[in-house]
Symmetry: C2
Subunit: 318 residues, 2 copies
């Protein structure tokens, strides 16, 4: 069985998550330059944006991630990604089906991100080369199971496929913990969101750096406000709490009734970067992101801290 | 600063959670006999039950855990527990206040279980000797934050107090991961629920052993059906899904309207151990509980597997 490192050709077991609209070519390249593998966030499928970001990878290895159900509506974007010769394609949120087969037919490693043990078993049957077990701590869309119990259960369910842990990991302690759980590495989004190379807005980065994981919340509000019709599934969007989540979190009916009007409010707020109303998409690992740095520094600190954790003498357990 | 081991006088960094009505004296004694520390689950405060269980500890060390808001209504039970000379008292779900002070005044280590970083800071200020950071993966009542990101954030927030990780940990991989996250040990409930010494019903144990963490769900249904008025707070009950959670999970208003009738249905179901209707209280680590064993075997396997994880040579990260 191939390992994560040989499949992806990486020195360090750390992947930069394909955050939609945030993980562009520069961020992906910076993570890869530091020895991991950065992913471009194909998101909901913007052709021109993807072309542009693929050109910013600066000759570094990169992967491309897509939201599976959105890619199924614009499958030509997969051809675009595959033509750029990515190290891997990551699909999340939906059945792999024909899209997965096309990745494998192109000779590119297929990474399936899952949110439950049942999905992991399905992904293994559908031919995934690597499974990302994503806990609900993750920022953006994610499931309801926690990383700590999901990862070892997925490891057992899909063995000997390599498993990557995601959700709630933003420093070397989390990477070391992921390895203990049986994962071969970690995939991290929030850890890279506030990096210089991330395409997130400066004010959103500032808010993430100040926030605690206590300040995040999951719900459908911003999908509705952005007019993105997510299909039913075991997932939901995690963001920082703000005026929008406080106003509508307990009154989804009210939001539904006034949606066109509220969508305009959101549009204006995004235009002027008013993140009291617009979303800052962040995971529970927000506590661990305390400054804005380069992605290369983040990767280096990650692996140095993980190595210290793994290398220290532990009290005798037996 | 005292360590977890010196504070509690234990050889192995594993605590048996005080599961209400499930963790009696025999289970607590078995965990302690194996080198950890078992807790009796004081729960909602049944005087006679607590007296009985304290007598079953067989001379082994033990701790006692209480639901803080329930103990505040029956504070005499804390005197009963303290007179039995526990190794520690664990309080969860509510302000420590005077109860915490009385534990400390008795010279007994005070363990505060928290569900958020903000609560952890409050517990440290209130004089806790040890903080349990409990992720929402936990069975029974717990919060909404995941263990993976909560533990390192709490470690940083209350340093140098020792922190114990809880939620989603049911084998040595989870214990090793907890140590990597900066915790001094782990507190586990689901791992011990199906043990021979647990007071859970045989049929409930059988269902847990067959279940996946995918099959658990959080909600207020069983608190309502049992007539337990939990105060508002960042917590909710995790159980296995069954007919009751499927029937009422999407219709809390309907349950509220017919509550007296449904409470009778639950009472009958509990009487005849019908766990299609009555709750099996279980955490997301259910995937990792695959057989019914003695608690001593569980503890031994835990530490052997953790030692293997911690001792294996890791790929070079730097």
């Amino acid at each position: 069985m191939s390992t994560l490192r040989t499949l992806l050709g990486i020195r360090r077991p750390l992947l930069g998550a394909p955050m939609a609209g945030v993980s562009g070519g520069r961020l992906a390249a910076a993570v890869s330059r530091a020895g991991g593998l950065g992913f471009i966030g194909g998101g909901y499928g913007d052709h021109d944006w993807l072309v542009e970001q693929l050109e910013l990878c600066d000759g570094q290895p990169f992967g491309v991630g897509f939201i599976t159900w959105a890619l199924a509506r614009r499958p030509e974007l997969l051809d675009l990604a595959l033509q750029a010769r990515p190290r891997a394609v990551l699909l999340s949120f939906g059945e792999l089906g024909d899209l997965g087969r096309r990745v494998r037919d192109a000779g590119v490693p297929l990474i399936a991100q899952v949110q439950t043990v049942a999905q992991a078993i399905g992904a293994a049957h559908a031919g995934a080369d690597i499974v990302v077990a994503q806990g609900g701590e993750a920022g953006g869309h994610g499931g309801w199971r926690g990383t700590m119990a999901l990862v070892p259960a997925v490891v057992d369910a899909v063995a000997p496929l390599p498993v990557v842990a995601a959700g709630g990991i933003a420093d070397g302690r989390g990477l070391a913990a992921a390895l203990m759980l049986g994962a071969s590495g970690a995939l991290c989004g929030t850890a890279f969101y506030a990096c210089h190379e991330s395409l997130a807005h400066d004010e959103a980065k500032r808010r993430l750096v100040r926030a605690s994981g206590d300040d995040t919340v999951k719900g459908p509000i911003f999908d509705w406000l952005r007019g993105i019709a997510w299909p039913d599934g075991p997932w939901s969007l995690r963001t920082l709490r703000n005026d929008s989540t406080e106003r509508w979190g307990g009154d989804l009916d009210g939001l539904h009734r006034t949606l066109p009007e509220q969508q305009k409010v959101l549009e204006r707020a995004r235009h002027c970067a008013d993140f009291d109303i617009a979303p800052v998409i962040a995971g529970e690992a927000a506590d661990l992101v305390r400054e804005r740095r380069s992605a290369e520094t983040v990767v280096a600190d990650f692996v140095q801290q993980a190595a210290r954790c793994l290398g220290q003498p532990w009290p005798t357990l037996l």
